[in-house]
Symmetry: C2
Subunit: 320 residues, 2 copies
DNA sequence: TTCGCAACTGCATACGAATGCACGGGCGTA
DNA sequence: TACGCCCGTGCATTCGTATGCAGTTGCGAA
């Protein structure tokens, strides 16, 4: 900057102002300096500016590697969150610092202006850990049980569970099964909604615990039901893959979907939509969730009052 | 740091050294200062250190948003690259700055110590753009045509195409079809390998251009072949989804896979493996590619000589 | 005693940009 | 002519940390 100042015949502070579009400097001077900067390939030193301004225009996104259950944040769909986050932050002039939670806190995270936590960790430990940094923080996940002081954004898993229960009830199903992992807070919410709604009609669903969210796991789940000669006429699977596996196994067993057994998945993946038969499922808009997360952190960073928010999840009835 | 120094009764510079594990300071003093720092929740100012040390321990990963063809980097599998990158960089003490390429260069990118470019852009324009920053740079994609000066890592798409051709030849197929988008450099390589190998046996495949890499697109492609009454006995699809769509359409048409038509996909997605019938495909190890990318940038940053590298792609023969 | 060396510690300064305040000149008004 | 104001510019200083060099202390050897 000092060099540029010399070239332009002004002081370096005028250069600084010219490059940051300050109205304090004469328009013509500003143009001249900017042209000079371009010509000589001048690059602003971001570290220096961050130091002076005490902000980095950076938001750290912390991805949980070892989740409480089998589902990883590196799975395709949770990653759509990242897409939304990145899109929103970038267009607001912020950068995304991507970190995976493993061992010590990344030093660079401390320089961030805000934090987005993807996956709250078993017993909220991740939340507590990062709370200590004292940065604006927004968490993706199930709503906090108690009076926690950080913002939470998530889709309304409980409502999702209720919707599925309502659907099963409306088509006269009496022996529903839930496949998923209740240790995962989000899945637990789905289960609670599902169970509560059914209980209102005197029905108690069977809980089939599965930690993997793969097609194979779904196949296996249904086979185990058959092996145990369980009587069931509806399946609520915690992911589309599980649901597709379940359907495959049902077909193998000679059962008809949805005549003998109704199946509803979760996430509304493109794959489920083009599955044969097209999968009924609960839609979660991950992308939009990411955008929302980003907006909330930005709000906090700018000192606005911001509230937790649950995103509606909607049942998409197709053919299963 | 000055405050800590006062508390500990030493100068701030001793504090600095104590916190960075410098052997210059007395072990006992160091312990005392570190304890004090912990107690008062002292946080190192990363911006200041970056300024002083002229490095940020950060690598920018630039994801191309609008690719030359229908495939987005936000698709699940390219994202595995990110997983590998993140894993490797984090464990080397580096942070990942995630940027999407849209409009102006993110200021924070300039502060990075190195660059990883995911998707080289049509006509290498992205590469040229970022080359100007003068940072160590590694690009994921097809090998550069000419004497470019940046490092390229990618899977050997040409070899992949050759393997598929060899397979088709070995099982006596004479009328192969290629489904994909040759505008995309990586797909183009697959096509070239495929065509060249077949040409050696006097066979010229049919090229069916498809920009979308969805199941629907695969269905549609095969239907159009049927509508045009094209004679074919083998399909090389540029993605597993395309291949699965193709198979579905073939089955609808009453054709048997693989008896009437052989189908080979690309990427070896878990989904393809559990498809019915299990999909034959070409395996690309994205995760490992990410690790490799990360290692190369780190090498460049440390001033080592580093070379471009193609990762072998292997044909996985299953049932199609 | 004196010197040399080792082990610590501290001073001054640098890193590159941005802010508060002051300064100089041009212009309009009284 | 004198005064005040605005526009444009520059000086000094600040942000928080790390390095080169210099200083201090204690101990053993000459």
């Amino acid at each position: 900057m000092a060099d540029l100042a010399e070239l332009a015949g002004v002081s370096k502070i005028t250069v600084s102002r010219a490059l940051s579009e300050s109205p304090l400097v004469n328009a013509e001077t500003r143009e001249r300096i900017q042209a000079l900067a371009r010509k000589h390939g001048y690059k602003l030193n971001v570290s220096a500016r961050n130091l002076r301004l005490r902000r980095s225009h950076t938001v750290a996104v912390i991805v949980e590697m070892k989740p409480s259950s089998g589902r990883t944040m590196w799975d395709p769909y949770p990653l759509s969150l990242l897409g939304g986050i990145s899109q929103e932050l970038t267009s607001a002039g912020y950068s995304v610092l991507l970190t995976t939670r493993q061992g010590a806190t990344d030093a660079a995270v401390q320089a961030a202006d805000g934090l987005i936590l993807l996956g709250q960790g078993a017993r909220q430990d991740a939340v507590r850990l990062y709370d200590k940094l004292g940065l604006p923080m927004v968490v993706w996940g199930a709503a906090a049980q108690g009076g926690d002081n950080h913002i939470v954004v998530g889709s309304d898993n409980r409502q999702g569970g209720i919707s599925v229960a309502e659907r099963f009830l409306s088509i006269g199903r009496r022996n529903p099964v839930f496949i998923g992992n209740p240790d995962h807070p989000e899945m637990a919410q789905r289960l609670f909604g599902f169970v509560d709604e059914l209980a209102g009609h005197g029905i108690k669903p069977l809980l089939l615990r599965r930690a993997d969210f793969t097609l194979e796991s779904g196949v296996d789940a249904v086979r185990s039901l058959a092996a145990r000669k369980v009587r069931f006429d509806a399946i609520f699977a915690c992911s589309d893959l599980l649901a597709m596996g379940a359907i495959r196994a049902l077909v193998e067993l000679g059962l008809s979907v949805p005549n003998d057994v109704s199946v509803i998945g979760y996430d509304d993946t493109p794959l489920g939509a083009s599955f044969l038969p097209p999968l009924s499922t609960v839609r979660q808009n991950w992308q939009e969730g990411g955008v929302l997360l980003a907006r909330k952190v930005l709000g906090l960073i700018q000192g606005h009052a911001v509230q937790s928010q649950m995103m509606a999840s909607t049942l998409v009835v197709r053919s299963t």
